[in-house]
Structure formats: structure tokens, C-alpha cells
């Protein structure tokens, strides 16, 4: 076996070991370790991506001395390696961008705790991406949930504790449903690894035995993931969790944590159940309806907010709605659009949170839209970042959000049902207008010059934040202009999934 096939395993193990090691290091060393781990994992993922693109096929990696149906396994294809690379990049930029605020928001002797959470979060994200085993997925969902909970409350204000409590309750409900679903699936298939499970499920559907438990299990799995990734009716935990955390936490939570779960759902659809069976039991229609509802109501809630942090958080609900709508189309084009939107939304949302913190100085009391008036003149790079992020979310050409919306629209034309086609297009149009209402409005607001500026916060831009914002802007432009290779990689990755 070629040496390079060990790289995904090395990345996961490195991130996991760095957690306990960081817990005895002083804060600044823990920080260095964490940055090093994120960069190394990113490089390992880049190598894996290059390797799978070169060989043109996915490979499985046996975890331990026992082969597939008996032992654990991870699997790396184009889609996995690409997502892992992208997640490491976003995480690194979010850490760099929020670097100044992390130092202020977190007590010095507890700084290492923050970096433990980051390391284990990275490990869990990588494991969720690479896993080829449903139960391994569940174990790392647990790590992911607890780490996210820590990231929400590490700022230490009462409001953060409240948000973390809400998050924990909702998220545990989701975990519970997932666990029941996996247990039911094990009961009717006798496997936990994805390929043998898929074989057993195809058998079940052909024979017609156990179709009811199968439907229940798929339903519970989708609901569990939907709760954890804040699909529309389950989003009540989201605004507080995203809006009031420290800068890096907000950026990472909004752009990565929910996406890790969604990636597992994609694997579940393609590698465990199979898209035909998903269509047969009509789960896609349900997800479609909730996705559309999320697109509209998330934006409506965002318009009502006076606090810009919460506004951005609510817009996440709308964007998650887009992703689920793409799942609901249940065509390859729809899935590609959704996966591209995962990337576009991650890049845009983390940019928005980093630049919002730049505008407010990391203090949520300044996040009221009245206090933000003219803020772009006081911190120019954050202003530009906010504007680019907003325009990307709205879907202005040249930026990431536009490309994903075009893909969604194209995917809609490929759907056989005319109703779905029409609903998708109308929802896309309405949602874009709603997005524009609040995002363009805020951009104009922060660029409205003020007569009197005394007493307004003047935030010094650190070099770290400047770099991170510029790189984020470039990433958004790159996804907007050079989407063609990424599109091809996603296509290739899905082909390897099937």
C-alpha cells in the first residue's frame, strides 16, 4: 500500500492527540500547537486530494488488523479530501481572524482549554468527513457537539451559558434520535459499515421485509441531523449561539460545525441508503418542503433583528435551507449545488462574522444597527469584508453566493416534477430579494457617513485580522470566479460515492 494512503489517518490522529497534550501546556504553547495541527492537517488533506485526483479512484483505509465488515474503516475520495482541505483552511483563517478577540475574551490561564476544543473539533470534523462507518460517525458527532458547546460558552458571560444550555438540549435531542436510528438500522441490517449496510438495505427493499423500520430509521436520521444543523423549525438554539460567542467561535460554529453533520447526511444518502430508495420513501420531498420554508422564514426572521450578529445568525438558517432544498431536488445537479453551497456559505459566513467583530470591537453591545452606522469608515478592511460577505450571501455575480444560486437554478430545470421546478425558482427569487433587503441594507448602513463620530468605538485592525479578512475575500472571489474545477471535483467525488 502506498504511504500516502496513511495521510487521512495521520490527520485525524494528530488532531486527537494534540487535545490531551494541550491540556497541560500553557496557553500560548497550546495556541502554537493548535495552529500547527490545523496547518498540518490541511497539508495532509491537500496531499490526499492530489493523490485521489491523480489515481482517479477512492481508497479505503482499514483501521486496525481486521478487514471491512468486522473492523472500522475510513475512506478517502475526491469529495472527502476536498471538504477536509477546505474545512482546515476555513478553520485556520477563522482562528487567525479572531486571534485578537480570543486573547481578550478568554482568561489567560484558560486559553489552552479553547485550543483543546479547537483541536478535538477538528479531529471530529475530519473523522465525520472520512468515516466509512455509521457508528464511528456517531462517536465523533458526540465529540463535535461537546466541543461546540464549549466553544459557545467559553466567553463566559451569562448569555453564553444560556445559549450553550439551549444548544446542548437541542443537540442532545438530535444525538438521541440519531442513535435510535443507527440502532434500528443495525437491527434490520446487521452491519454498521456503510457498504455492507447498503447491500443489506437494497436486499430489504427488494424483499419488502422491514420496510417500515427502514423508513422510521431514515426519518429519525434526517430529523436528528436537521436539529443539529439548524434546519428551519429546529433553529431556535442558533441565533444566541452564533450571535454572542467570541469571534473565532462564531465563525467556526457557523461555517463548519453544522456542515460536518450535513456532510455525514450526504454520505448517508449516497453510501448507506442510496438515492433511489430515498426517493422511494419520499424523504427528499419532506426535506424539500422544510428547506424552502427555512429559506423564506430564516430571512424573514433576519429582517426583524436589530442586532446585526443575530441577523447574520438568522441568515444561516436561510442558507441551511438552501442546502436542504438541494437535497430535496434529489438529482445529481441538486446535490452538487448543495455541496457547492456548503463551501460558499462557509467562506461567506465566516468572513461576515470576522468582519462584524472587526466593526464592533468584539462587543455585542455595539452590534445594534444604529451603533454600526458609519462603522466601515472606522475600520476599513472590516467594512470591505462585511460588504463582500453580504454581497456574496445575496448572490451578486463574481462572488461565491452567486455561483451556487446559478447551480441551484440550473438544477431546478433538471427536475422532472414541474411543481418542484416552479417552487424552487420562485423560492430562490423570493429568498434572494429577502436576503438583499437586510444584507444590502446593512452594507449601506455601515457606509453611511456620520456627522458626529465621538464616542463611537474605533477598532484598531491587527495584522492578523487584516490578513485573514483579505484571504477570506480572495477565497470568496475564487469560489465565485473559478468554480469550474471545484464543480468538476464535486462531480467526480459524487461519482466515486455511488
Amino acid at each position: 500500500m502506498e504511504w500516502i494512503r496513511n495521510f487521512p489517518f495521520f490527520a485525524i490522529l494528530l488532531a486527537m492527540v494534540s487535545g490531551p497534550v494541550s491540556s497541560v501546556l500553557p496557553g500560548r504553547h497550546a495556541r502554537r500547537v493548535s495552529f500547527l495541527v490545523v496547518i498540518t492537517s490541511g497539508l495532509l488533506s491537500v496531499c490526499t486530494l492530489a493523490y485521489v485526483l491523480y489515481t482517479g479512484e477512492a481508497f479505503t483505509y482499514q483501521m486496525g488488523a481486521f478487514p471491512a465488515p468486522f473492523g472500522n474503516e475510513i475512506r478517502a475520495g475526491v469529495l472527502e479530501a476536498m471538504t477536509a482541505t477546505f474545512f482546515c483552511l476555513i478553520m485556520l483563517l477563522s482562528l487567525v481572524g479572531g486571534y485578537r478577540f480570543t486573547a481578550v475574551d478568554i482568561a489567560e490561564d484558560r486559553e489552552n482549554l479553547f485550543y483543546i476544543l479547537i483541536n478535538l473539533l477538528l479531529a471530529s470534523l475530519l473523522a465525520l468527513i472520512y468515516t466509512n462507518d455509521l457508528f464511528t460517525g456517531y462517536v465523533f458527532i458526540e465529540i463535535n457537539t461537546i466541543a461546540a458547546c464549549g466553544l459557545i460558552m467559553i466567553r463566559g458571560w451569562g448569555r453564553n451559558l444560556l445559549a450553550a444550555t439551549k444548544y446542548m438540549i437541542m443537540s442532545l435531542l438530535g444525538s438521541g434520535l440519531l442513535l435510535i436510528s443507527i440502532a434500528v438500522l443495525y437491527g434490520i441490517t446487521g452491519h454498521l459499515l456503510m457498504e455492507p449496510m447498503h447491500g443489506a438495505i437494497v436486499d430489504i427493499v427488494e424483499k419488502g421485509t422491514y420496510t417500515e423500520p427502514l423508513t422510521v430509521a431514515v426519518g429519525l436520521f434526517c430529523v436528528g441531523i436537521a436539529i443539529k444543523s439548524a434546519l428551519f423549525p429546529f433553529h431556535s438554539w442558533l441565533p444566541d449561539a452564533y450571535g454572542y460567542s467570541t469571534c473565532s467561535s462564531s465563525a467556526i460554529l457557523s461555517s463548519l460545525v453544522s456542515k460536518g453533520y450535513i456532510f455525514l447526511l450526504i454520505k448517508f444518502f449516497y453510501r448507506v441508503i442510496g438515492t433511489d430508495i430515498i426517493h422511494q420513501i419520499q424523504v427528499d420531498d419532506v426535506l424539500f418542503v422544510f428547506g424552502i420554508a427555512g429559506m423564506i422564514f430564516g430571512s424573514v426572521s433576519a429582517i426583524q433583528q436589530t442586532d446585526v450578529g443575530r441577523m447574520i445568525a438568522f441568515s444561516s438558517v436561510a442558507q441551511i435551507g438552501y442546502i436542504y432544498m438541494g437535497f430535496g431536488l434529489n438529482t445529481e445537479a441538486g446535490m452538487i449545488a448543495s455541496i457547492f453551497h456548503i463551501l460558499a456559505h462557509s467562506a461567506g459566513k465566516s468572513l461576515l462574522f470576522v468582519s462584524l467583530n472587526g466593526l464592533t470591537g468584539g462587543n455585542w453591545e455595539n452590534a445594534n444597527y444604529r451603533k454600526l452606522r458609519g462603522a466601515a469608515y472606522r475600520n476599513r478592511i472590516a467594512g470591505v469584508g462585511f460588504a463582500v460577505g453580504s454581497l456574496s450571501m445575496v448572490g451578486i455575480p463574481l462572488l461565491a453566493g452567486f455561483t451556487s444560486k446559478v447551480y441551484f437554478a440550473q438544477a431546478a430545470f433538471g427536475v422532472s416534477s414541474t411543481t418542484k421546478q416552479l417552487v424552487t425558482l420562485v423560492a430562490l427569487a423570493v429568498s434572494t430579494i429577502l436576503n438583499a433587503m437586510y444584507f444590502i441594507g446593512q452594507t449601506i448602513n455601515i457606509y453611511t457617513p456620520l456627522q458626529r463620530t465621538e464616542g463611537r468605538p474605533r477598532v484598531a485592525v491587527g495584522r492578523a485580522m487584516w490578513t485573514a479578512t483579505v484571504l477570506f475575500i480572495l477565497l470568496n472571489l475564487l469560489l465565485g470566479i473559478g468554480s469550474e474545477p471545484i464543480f468538476r471535483w464535486i462531480e467526480e467525488g459524487l461519482r466515486l460515492f455511488g
Binding site: 500500500m1 496513511n6 489517518f9 490522529l13 486527537m16 492527540v17 487535545g19 490531551p20 497534550v21 491540556s23 497541560v24 483505509y61 482499514q62 483501521m63 486496525g64 488488523a65 481486521f66 468486522f70 473492523g71 472500522n72 478577540f101 481578550v104 482568561a107 484558560r110 483543546i116 476544543l117 479531529a123 457508528f135 464511528t136 462517536v139 465523533f140 458526540e142 465529540i143 461537546i146 464549549g150 460558552m153 467559553i154 463566559g156 458571560w157 451569562g158 451559558l161 434500528v184 437491527g187 434490520i188 441490517t189 446487521g190 452491519h191 422491514y210 417500515e212 422510521v216 470591537g361 462587543n363 453591545e365 455595539n366 444604529r370 451603533k371 464616542g455 463611537r456 468605538p457 477598532v459
Partner: protein
């Protein structure tokens, strides 16, 4: 025409209705008054906070509308409770119905009785060197999952430390709001409950005497479970739980000061980090050699001997230490707020 019973308040129906409506809802007019007062207070604080930046109109035209929305919410809440309950009942019903369609428990032709469980049961001893198949499954066949599970414990302990560390003075800061707003609240203090002698109650004699007798036995039993994990029911998780329970009992009887003579934060850190890192190294070795087809140099030994089963024995020991530490850490953290 039906008539209201005199003791209606005490009937089950009335109690159920009261439960659905939330515990003792106050009269509408009282609540309205309260909301009005609160809205005014909020407007006042908003004005005070924003005075230096912008001129808010003297009366808030939104106040009445906000008030309306809040009383409306109270009416919705009743529906909310009823609907929530109906939804829960439906989900419970659905799950119970689902069980009826599942393969019967223990049936011979259930899908779970396939080649996977067959191999675990029949070849488990030969391949992993264990008598207790469960241990072989979790520590050899599915070793990666168990490593993840141990990390869940570790990160749980970290999160509890974060939870118990909180800032004071948010309310003060909001009210006074004197310092520059770009200030990130450096003025506030990080607080945590610190050690105070009152946590060391004078333990009572009965507890101390019994603890003196029982604790050594509990420790011995815990170690026995750890070391025999591959031979008899037990293993890292259960043995660790017994050890942790022993520590907690000792602490209850003799207090923190005496416990810290042999188990303080430093020792805790060393054991926790040491055992996790060693575990990680062992697991890395096992997964790496297994995946790359390199034969493992660790002999499996004779089946049934205490020193057998290769890597399982040290892993059980390390998992046990980690579990014991985490259990005691949860107890100590919630009891006195720090280690």
C-alpha cells in the same frame, strides 16, 4: 345543563388544564401591567445607554405594539403546550409501533446474526486472545470507536471546567456603561468558586469507619475488573467507574484535604494526560500496523492467562485510569468549582 362542580379546582381535569396552561398563570391584567412596566424600564435603559450616540424619540411608538405582541404570545403558549404534547405522544407511538415491525429479540434468523457476529463469537478468542468477547470487540475489532469514546470523556471534563468558570459583572456593566464601549469587558472579573474549608465537613464517625473498611476493597475490586477485562465481564470502562466511585466515597468521608494528599490537580493532570497519550500511542501503533499489513510484535499469549491478549490489557488499564479520573473530576468540579 351541566353545572361546574364545587370542588372543580381539585379534580384531575382541572389540574391537567392548569398544567397545560403553565403553572398558575397570573390574571391577564396583572401580566399586562407587568409587561407595560418592563417595556418602560427597557426603553429607559435603552435611552440611557444610547444617550451619547443618538437621539431616540421621547416616547417609543413601538411600546404598545410590543405589548400587544407579548399578550398574544401568552395565548399561543397554551396551543404550544397542547401541540407539543400531541407531537410527543405521536413520536412515542410511532417508535413503539416501529418495534413491532423489528425482528424479534433473540430470534435466530434476525439480520444481526450474520457473518460479523459469528466471527466475533467464534474466532474472537483466537484472533484477539480474549475470553470476554465484548472486550475483544471494543478494543480490537472496533478499536477506533472506543478511542473516540475515551476522548468524549476527556472533552466532557474540559467543558465542565469551562462551564464553572464564569464572568461577573455583566449586569453592572450594562447599567453603568461608563467605560468606552470598545472595551471588551476587561473590567469584569473571571470568577470561580474557590476552595473553602466548609467543603470539608467534619465527617461522621459511621461513614468514616465504614469507608476505612470498604474503600480499600473497592480499589482492589476496581483493579481486579481492570486487569481481568479480557477474561471476565468488565474492562476499562466498568473498572474505571468502580475506582472513581471509591475515590468519591473516600472524599465524602474524609474531605478534600485528605484526598489531596495523594490525589491533587497535579496528579490528576499527570494521570489523565499520561494515560490518554499512552493510549493514543498504542492505538496509533495498532491501527498503523494493522492497516499497512505489518505483523504486530506484541504476542497474544495463551488464551485465558492473566498476561495475555496483547495490547488489550494495557489499553484496559489506561482506559480505566482515564474513566476514574474523569468521574472524580466531575464530582470535585461540581462540588467545589475547581480541582
Amino acid at each position: 345543563m351541566s353545572r361546574l362542580r364545587k370542588d372543580y379546582e381539585h379534580t384531575k381535569t382541572a389540574r391537567f388544564v392548569a398544567f397545560v396552561q403553565g403553572d398558575e398563570p397570573p390574571r391577564d391584567e396583572d401580566r399586562t401591567e407587568e409587561w407595560r412596566r418592563r417595556v418602560e424600564e427597557q426603553a429607559e435603559t435603552d435611552r440611557a445607554a444610547n444617550a451619547s450616540y443618538l437621539e431616540l424619540p421621547d416616547t417609543d411608538p413601538q411600546a404598545d405594539r410590543r405589548l400587544l405582541r407579548m399578550t398574544g404570545f401568552r395565548r399561543i403558549r397554551r396551543f404550544y403546550y397542547v401541540i407539543a404534547m400531541i407531537m410527543c405522544l405521536m413520536i412515542i407511538g410511532m417508535l413503539i409501533l416501529n418495534v413491532a415491525y423489528m425482528p424479534p429479540f433473540g430470534s435466530e434468523d434476525a439480520p444481526a446474526n450474520n457473518e460479523v457476529s459469528e466471527r466475533y463469537l467464534e474466532k474472537g478468542g483466537e484472533e484477539t486472545g480474549v475470553v470476554n468477547t465484548v472486550t475483544g470487540m471494543i478494543l480490537q475489532y472496533r478499536a477506533f470507536d472506543t478511542f473516540g469514546e475515551t476522548n468524549v470523556l476527556f472533552i466532557g471534563a474540559c467543558t465542565v471546567i469551562i462551564l464553572l468558570l464564569h464572568r461577573e459583572g455583566e449586569e453592572d456593566k450594562r447599567r453603568h456603561h461608563e467605560e468606552s464601549v470598545s472595551d471588551n469587558g476587561d473590567a469584569s472579573e473571571w470568577t470561580r468558586v474557590t476552595y473553602s474549608p466548609e467543603y470539608d465537613r467534619k465527617g461522621d464517625v459511621i461513614l468514616q469507619t465504614i469507608a476505612k473498611l470498604v474503600v480499600p476493597m473497592i480499589f482492589l475490586f476496581g483493579l481486579y475488573i481492570l486487569l481481568n477485562g479480557h477474561l471476565s465481564p468488565g474492562g476499562g470502562f466498568s473498572g474505571g467507574a468502580v475506582l472513581g466511585a471509591g475515590l468519591i466515597l473516600y472524599n465524602q468521608a474524609f474531605g478534600f484535604r485528605r484526598t489531596e494528599r495523594f490525589f491533587d490537580e497535579k496528579i490528576y493532570d499527570i494521570i489523565k494526560v499520561g494515560s490518554l497519550c499512552l493510549y493514543a500511542m498504542i492505538i496509533a501503533y495498532y491501527l498503523f500496523t494493522g492497516a499497512n499489513g505489518i505483523p504486530s510484535i506484541v504476542p497474544l499469549g495463551t488464551l485465558g492467562a492473566i498476561l495475555s491478549s496483547g495490547l488489550i490489557l494495557p489499553i484496559n488499564l489506561l482506559v480505566g485510569l482515564e474513566v476514574a479520573c474523569t468521574m472524580y473530576a466531575f464530582y470535585a468540579l461540581f462540588r467545589k468549582g475547581s480541582f
